[in-house]
Amino acid sequence: MEAAMGLMRRMPPRHSETTLSALLSLLPGHASDLLSQVDLPLQVLSDVDSGKKFILCEYNRDADSYRSPWSNKYHPPLDDAPYPSSKLRQMEIEANDIFTVYCEQYYEGGISSVYMWEDDNEGLVACFLVKKDGSKTGQGRRGYLEEGTWDAIHVIEVGPEEEITRYCLTSTVMLSLTTDDVSSGTFSLSGSIRRQMNMNLPVADGHLSNMGKMIEEMEAKLRNSLDQVYFGKTREMVCNLRPPNEVVQMRLPTS
């Protein structure tokens, strides 16, 4: 299993679906471990009532059907499927509405979904998902990207409600971007990272507010980390392979 995760870390992120499906066929006995530890780019369906898109994940799935956060219906329809309690559903509706506004602010578009359900320990679990297509044919406002996707999955476990409640957030971001033009050729970066954050916050501030702030902080950290650290390291490597021009010019003998 460790070897399988090692392979996931080395194979090009663009091929993550192929890598996972290869591993699943080689290790059928580890299917549930693999599916829970590996994240794949998010898939989307359109709600049968409103046509609004919603994101598919393990947390809104039952058998082969997925529950839409907009209509609360399973697609395709399913008998005896689980639904959140009506109280939780109210919170879920509100969360979806607010998260849509949040995404408009940061993602200038994109598709979002929030799913909630009660867990066994009298707490609740919430999953916030975002999918953005930033390519120039998608929702990229400035037309820089030939291809660009950002998928974020935030799963928050909220402990039993006390004055100070425990929130555990696990976030995964997968992204890829490609610029392409005649003079500079194709430039492509892709990758994924996953982080965790735990906080104890006053329940009086409200679950949504608490969870929202954690997600905002986490996304900022991940975006920054990807930009400065991860992309930065690849840039450093390129400079190591071929020291930038000024250095080369200085060392050349005059001829």
Binding site: K132, F187, S209, G212, K213
Partner: protein, 310 residues
């Protein structure tokens, strides 16, 4: 509907194994091989897959190996391939026998006359390579390069066309820092005797992989072309390397430019650092049904102020 667990055939396992090996990032095939063997649990299938996959990987990554006897490095490329495991090193006029799976040179022998170009061709090849080596020593401190004649190696004198390929390969492997990378450049040079012109076509490919608690890969490539006059060996060599240097400098600068743009502009296409309001999102204390309206109002008011500034 539950899926049946069907046992994969050896053929299918071999195909999957080959895929993993061929798609390993630069400098990482041995690590991938180790993990793959664990997952595959079938040494026979692995060995068969490796025998096919390693040569493909090695040639596409333009790996360079130390030659026995302290002669320096030899490139493993399709341009220098004489037979399955035999590669010509034009710099020292020798042929190495290579173990692809272990990625080492087993033996080295002098090249035969049939394997080497004619003296006329060699004059051009040698001059170009000498000039190239000077350039590569500055630009690619840990890399390797060579010039191969890929067409017309037996041409005796002026009056015929011939073709060279310049190969430059640099790799940096820092597995302890979770970082590996490679720069590969291949320049096809067509010597057109009829119009007394050299036509160059270059292809640069750069890759980098950083994987400390994550997995991020750079994959960049660019093609370009140019031409210069067909002159004597030394003048041609100087002119060609001058062009190569210029194009590769330009490419390096454009890569720097892409990275520079990334932080401020390109990344924004995916996610902004902050909303247009330049403040964090106003998560409020919940009064449930009012929350969305309050937030929307606050943002709308904020947006009106900012529209002129945006």
């Amino acid at each position: 509907m539950a899926e049946e667990e069907t046992e994969l055939s050896d053929q299918q396992k071999k195909g999957i194994a080959k895929w993993f090996l061929i798609n390993a990032p630069a400098g990482e095939i041995q690590y991938v091989a180790k993990d793959l063997k664990s997952v595959l649990k079938d040494d026979d299938v692995y060995n068969e897959a490796a025998a096919v996959a390693f040569p493909i990987y090695n040639k596409s990554h333009l790996i360079y190996l130390k030659m026995p006897g302290g002669y320096g490095d030899v490139l493993v490329t399709s341009y220098g391939e004489l037979q399955d495991n035999e590669y010509l090193d034009p710099k020292t006029a020798q042929v190495v026998i290579v173990d692809h799976v272990k990625q080492v040179c087993k033996r080295v022998r002098p090249a035969t006359d049939e394997e080497l170009p004619s003296p006329y061709i060699e004059e051009y090849r040698y001059a170009l390579e000498a000039e190239l080596l000077k350039y590569a020593a500055e630009a690619y401190p840990k890399g390797s390069c060579a010039v191969y004649c890929t067409n017309g190696k037996d041409v005796e004198g002026p009056g015929s066309d011939f073709e060279f390929v310049v190969v430059i390969s640099a790799a940096r492997n820092s597995p302890h820092n979770f970082c590996n990378g490679s720069w590969r450049a291949i320049w096809n040079i067509e010597f057109r005797d009829d119009i007394q012109v050299l036509e160059l076509k270059g292809k640069c490919q750069v890759g980098a992989h950083y994987f400390e608690e994550g997995n991020v890969q750079l994959d960049a490539k660019r093609e370009c072309s140019d031409s210069t006059m067909f002159q004597g060996p030394d003048d041609t060599a100087t002119a060609v390397v001058h062009l190569i240097r210029r194009h590769e400098n330009e490419y390096m600068a454009s890569l720097e430019g892409s990275y520079f743009d990334l932080s401020d502009n390109t990344f924004k296409e995916l996610r902004r650092k902050l909303p247009v309001t330049r403040t964090l999102f106003p998560w409020h204390n919940t009064m449930q049904f009012n929350l969305k309206r309050e937030i929307a109002e606050e943002l709308r008011i904020g947006e009106l102020h900012d529209i002129k500034r945006a």
